[in-house]
Symmetry: C2
């Protein structure tokens, strides 16, 4: 007889004891397991070109132009449609990416190592605001910026990190930023400042030119999402640490590709349970409305999976200026998440709740039983490729993914009555 | 007949509309009005050598050795006791300094300008942790660090700020940091990161050597009080903007020299009202107790005077790990300060209170009427010179200063019945 409680305790303890260290920045093909030149990684569960959303298609086109494999939309589409280029989830390669999450073999990626268990996780570099690949933009300026990030910023960060004896402890950085008004998903303002301030003395010592150093420091300092990608990779390393525990009903992946949201469960191996993505409800930037919104997209829900993001929203009352709502709603969201989780985080605490640990380890049994779904904080992409972010808000995963996962769990572990 | 309400409205509006910009770093004798080689500025109201506290005496000795005027305690004491060196409050020279606040003619100081009214304010550079002059330490290491700050860091900051077209808007920085868990007096963690991140790209472009740039960036990034001194000068510029309004009962100065706490009032000119300082109640660092504490010391209460610090403590729930208490106490402290203030700040808001403006403009009438004194968050100095900080906590000013000021106000404005 399986002991689900014990299995969940094991899984969540592994998640909480994971300590992901940012080690370096390297080329995807050299470090990501299974990465190859004819493969593009993308956010969320598996997707085909035909079913892909606007931002996802745009990012695929952009990455193939960036790689020199295509010259425009049509030639890119052809490569993917004929199978010359494969699409696979980041999550199946120990990686994560925000929004479209499209990562190609030549791209520079963050390399994190969970020093507790030894597993690694990867994420691409954050492009900042405006027209960016992760929202499906692929104009020449977008690709120029990507090339600058790849040729200048990535190697400079690698050189800077090599000067740091122990790398950067992203769990410690997150713990600190949660005491500074961040929730780690949609608000990473304090974390990005911590990140920039930690890197600045190291960047100053790299071999780059003064102008390049100043440009990279300005880019990091001006981007309140600078640290989002290392944070996501850290959360991936933590969630993966809890994956693969036989008999555990803890959700270890939740991710969206703009069309489908998929979850995976610790005790159910690599199997995805998918359903249609929701439409985020939130605040739109001037000139945009809900009619402009893409379906929910991105691997950034790895933050909620690891016990931060919307789960830690009580820590981030100022976020409501960005996603709508009130500070009370932010507190209530965190409180509700305790109902469907397994533990209170030992590394991440919330000052306004008397330093209570964040709710961590979503138990799919509780989700189904109580009808309470994991809350998600998210940016909202325009439905058309290349327009970019049009707002930010809250969204829920479809309930069927939890129901189907629970049924599969019952089948796999022989818990169904005849 | 004077219209106190109108006068207070004018004073607090001037305080709130002040916008202090950090312009440069320069030598005190070149920029501070009335600064001269035989003068030391110090925190709090006027003090003599005889009545000075341990940390204040130590800092005076250190500053005179730093200036090459003395070689040890005895020779320094002689200079001051015989009047060859004068002591005057920072506050009487448009300046402020944390803890002992001792500022000598050769020291580098921040120069801020309130662009709304044109008044300026000054503060010395923050020395970081450990053995520091502001806590009365004056060993060779302390003076070596001061010399490095004066010869390397100060000029580098001046060069960096000169590269910034508009200087640094410290009010905007503070408004942001109050949304990131700071209260601006005892917790300046987010503000110091914002400060470091804003300066980093500019510092990268200065003419200093790579090693010096890296050392300054490391020093700024490691010091969660880096921004305290510019913040204090910004608060001084704001408070001074509200000073000198005939008929106003608003407190525009509150400062301590380790022996006396003194206040000044907008409508009462330069006159100090003083009383004995309190003993902070808080958390002591390992190995220290209340018996080790100096009396309350420093100009940093300029933050509370300007509507932040303890007045904004609701914004900084994590501060209770440093000063004791609970997050609820932090909220209640802010709520209580609304009782004795004149306005809700239009530039500084508190997310957890539904973005309510911070309480600003202490009305001495309300303090006396309600018996509610302005709350102060503070570091605690060891009573002996040179030991340094031994804790942090909360303290109150003596009630007599408000009673005496109110009586003087009534006399000056002919409000006493015969």
């Amino acid at each position: 007889m399986i002991d689900i409680e014990q299995a969940n305790h094991t899984a969540v303890t592994r998640m909480m004891s994971a300590r992901p260290i940012l080690r370096t920045v390297a080329t995807a093909r050299d470090v990501i397991p299974g990465m190859r030149d004819d493969l593009l990684l993308h956010a969320g569960p598996p997707i085909t070109w035909e079913r892909a959303s606007g931002p996802m298609k745009g990012a695929i086109v952009g990455a193939l132009i960036f790689e020199g494999r295509a010259t425009d939309w049509d030639s890119a589409e052809k490569l993917v449609a004929t199978g010359q280029i494969s699409l696979e989830p980041c999550h199946e390669h120990d990686a994560v990416g925000p929004m479209a999450g499209v990562t190609s073999a030549s791209m520079q990626v963050y390399v994190l190592e969970n020093v507790t268990l030894g597993n690694k996780a990867y994420s691409n570099l954050n492009e900042g605001y405006g027209k960016v690949l992760r929202y499906g933009a692929y104009s020449p300026e977008v690709l120029d910026k990507l090339r600058w990030m790849n040729e200048v910023m990535g190697p400079m960060l690698a050189e800077a990190l090599a000067l740091s004896e122990d790398g950067l402890d992203i769990r410690a950085l997150l713990a600190e930023s949660l005491h500074m008004g961040d929730e780690g998903h949609n608000r990473n303002k304090a974390g990005s400042l911590l990140y920039t301030a930690r890197l600045a003395p190291l960047i100053a010592q790299t071999s780059a030119s003064t102008a390049e150093k100043a440009r990279v420091l300005q880019f990091l300092a001006d981007n309140a999402l600078s640290v989002l990608n290392p944070v996501m990779a850290a959360c991936k390393a933590m969630a993966d640490a809890g994956h693969g525990v036989a008999g555990s009903t803890i959700m270890t992946t939740m991710a969206r590709n703009g069309t489908d949201l998929g979850i995976r469960v610790s005790g159910l191996g690599g199997r995805w349970f998918t359903g249609p993505v929701g439409q985020p409800d939130g605040l739109y930037f001037p000139g945009y409305t809900a009619a402009d919104a893409s379906g929910d997209i991105g691997d950034s829900t790895i933050t909620e999976t690891a016990g931060i993001g919307a789960f830690a929203m009580a820590s981030a009352p100022a976020i409501v200026t960005f996603i709508s709502g009130t500070p009370e709603m932010a507190v209530n969201t965190t409180l509700e998440m305790y109902e469907i989780t397994t533990a209170e985080h030992t590394a991440f605490t919330i000052p306004v709740l008397g330093f209570r640990g964040t709710p961590v380890g979503v138990d799919i049994r509780k989700v189904v039983e109580l009808g309470i779904r994991p809350q998600i904080n998210t940016g909202i992409a325009h439905k058309d490729p290349g327009v970019g972010q049009v707002g930010a808000g809250l969204v829920l995963p479809p309930m069927n993914v939890f129901e189907e996962a629970l049924l599969a769990f019952a089948e796999q572990y022989g818990l169904l009555e005849d």
